[in-house]
């Protein structure tokens, strides 16, 4: 495992100057992390309160076994303008998709003549807190499933409708709508269900596995260097609590598997299929790394 550094803003403030840094021996340079002291971009210290009433947990003590001391939401790493968009549901551009999701919730589809609401009624009650606990163990498939796959399961088994294809049709808005019902709830996975622990282990392996021509793992960027700028990007801890996330760059909601694939592609590697075992394992592990953070869906990112 790589040397942990830059894990929290506290690590960044060693106060050494460049001059002292470079007068030390090469061996010291190779041991790494010293120029960390000269850069102080770090995550912001603001508090996220949505609509002046929902106090969000965006920083919290890491769960046991976590390599970092503090778990920090990606919100802290964004610009003040981007952060502001998330404090107000009227300004949050992702809320349009959530409203679209609300319509889909009520829409009858498939041979059984049912909508989500037929079985689940008012989502603000039936779905409150639900999204904070996914991925969950699915006995039927013997695998963990996320909200997207649970939606597909309902569509096929209960509605007689076609499953959504990855990122198509109602998948992103409906997922965002369901997760939004848990806004402010802490992310908490139950790893004691079924074989969840095995999938967590597998996800952890993948997280530290270096991929592609650039030879980088998730941990290289999000564990060792969160808080640093990589060209124009400000690296966060890469947490999953805001997904589907509204990305200003794309002007659309982005699903968690899309984000994973993008990050893997950026290492110049072939990337796994959405909902493949690899990406589900990664989702279990990455979601766990953000344990205790509030669900922010739809988070706003750059």
């Amino acid at each position: 495992m790589p040397v942990a550094r830059g894990g929290s803003a506290g690590n960044l403030s060693g106060g050494k100057t460049l001059k002292t840094l470079f007068s030390v021996s090469m061996a010291a340079i190779m041991s790494g992390g010293m120029w960390a002291s000269v850069v102080l971009a770090g995550p912001s210290d603001d508090k996220l309160v949505i609509d002046e009433q929902i106090e969000m947990t965006t920083r919290t003590a890491a769960p046991e076994g976590h390599p970092l001391d503090e778990v920090i939401s990606g919100w802290h790493y964004r610009t003040p303008e981007t952060r502001a968009l998330e404090t107000d549901t009227f300004q949050n551009p992702g809320m349009l998709a959530v409203e679209e999701g609300a319509q889909i919730w009520e829409t009858v589809e498939g041979t059984e003549g049912k909508s989500c609401a037929t079985c689940h009624g008012d989502a603000s009650e039936s779905m409150a807190g639900v999204g904070a606990n996914y991925p969950k163990w699915d006995e039927d498939s013997g695998k963990p499933i996320n909200i997207e796959l649970q939606i597909n399961k309902c569509r096929v088994e209960n509605m007689g409708a076609e499953p959504y294809k990855f990122d198509k049709d109602g998948q992103k808005p409906l997922t965002a709508f369901i997760k939004h019902q848990s806004l402010g709830q802490p992310v908490a996975l139950d790893l004691s269900q079924g074989d969840m622990q095995t999938w967590w282990d597998k996800g952890k392996d993948l997280y530290y596995r270096r991929t592609g021509q650039l030879n980088l793992s998730c941990a290289t960027c999000h564990e060792d260097y969160n808080g640093y700028r990589i060209r124009a990007d400000h690296l966060s801890q890469g947490n999953a609590n805001g997904f589907p996330t509204y990305r200003l760059k794309q002007g659309a909601l982005v699903s968690i598997h899309n984000r994973f694939r993008g990050c893997i592609r950026d290492t110049r590697a072939e990337y796994p299929a959405a909902f493949s075992d690899d990406l589900m394992a990664l989702e279990v592990y990455v979601t766990w790394r953000g344990s205790g953070l509030s669900v922010e869906t739809p988070a706003v990112r750059q």
Binding site: P2, V3, L18, L21, F22, M26, I29, M30, S31, G32, W35, V38, V39, A41, R209, R210, T211, G212, Q213, L214, N215, L216, S217, T220, C221, D224, Y225, Y228, R229, I230, R231, A232, L235, I264, R265, T267, R268, A269, E270, Y271
Partner: protein
């Protein structure tokens, strides 16, 4: 018979190496990093610092600015802060050391460094299909960047 063909091939290669420029390029697998340095030019020729300056900034090539700031390129927006600023790097390291850092930073810093090796096939798993067996930079581009880095003196 076999022997003759082999020695014939070998001498043909030697001939090629001494005549054609391309053949004198050291293949990624053959670069010897000794005492943290690669003493000879990978192409057998000196690099072009002006080209190196461009390769350094080009997001599709070195993209060094992703991680390193350098005052000499302050006209470029967004310098990264993941690695140390490279001002004065030509004073801190010799040409041969800089070449080694570029070729395979893992051999110089540590296995865990975030800095990619630009002329090595010791890379991550699942490399994008069209990039299998290819290095990030060509030998010539590495030499150009080395020539540029050497100009960064304080």
């Amino acid at each position: 018979m076999k022997f003759t063909i082999k020695s014939g091939l070998a001498s043909a290669l030697v001939l090629l190496a001494s005549t054609a420029f391309a053949a004198s390029v050291v293949a990624p697998g053959d670069v010897a990093i000794e005492d943290g340095a690669v003493s000879k030019s990978l192409t057998g020729a000196p690099g072009d610092a002006a080209e190196g300056r461009k390769t350094f900034a080009d997001r599709k090539l070195g993209n060094c600015l992703a991680c390193h700031a350098v005052t000499d390129q302050s006209e470029q927006l967004f310098h990264g802060e993941v690695g140390p600023p490279l001002d004065g790097v030509g004073d801190r390291w010799s040409e041969a050391e800089l070449r080694a850092i570029l070729v395979n930073s893992k051999a110089i810093f540590s296995e865990d460094t975030i800095m990619p090796g630009f002329y090595t096939l010791d890379v991550g798993v699942d490399v994008r299909e069209d990039l299998v067996g290819k290095t990030i930079l060509t030998a010539e581009q590495v030499e150009d960047v080395v020539a540029y880095l050497i100009t960064l003196k304080e």
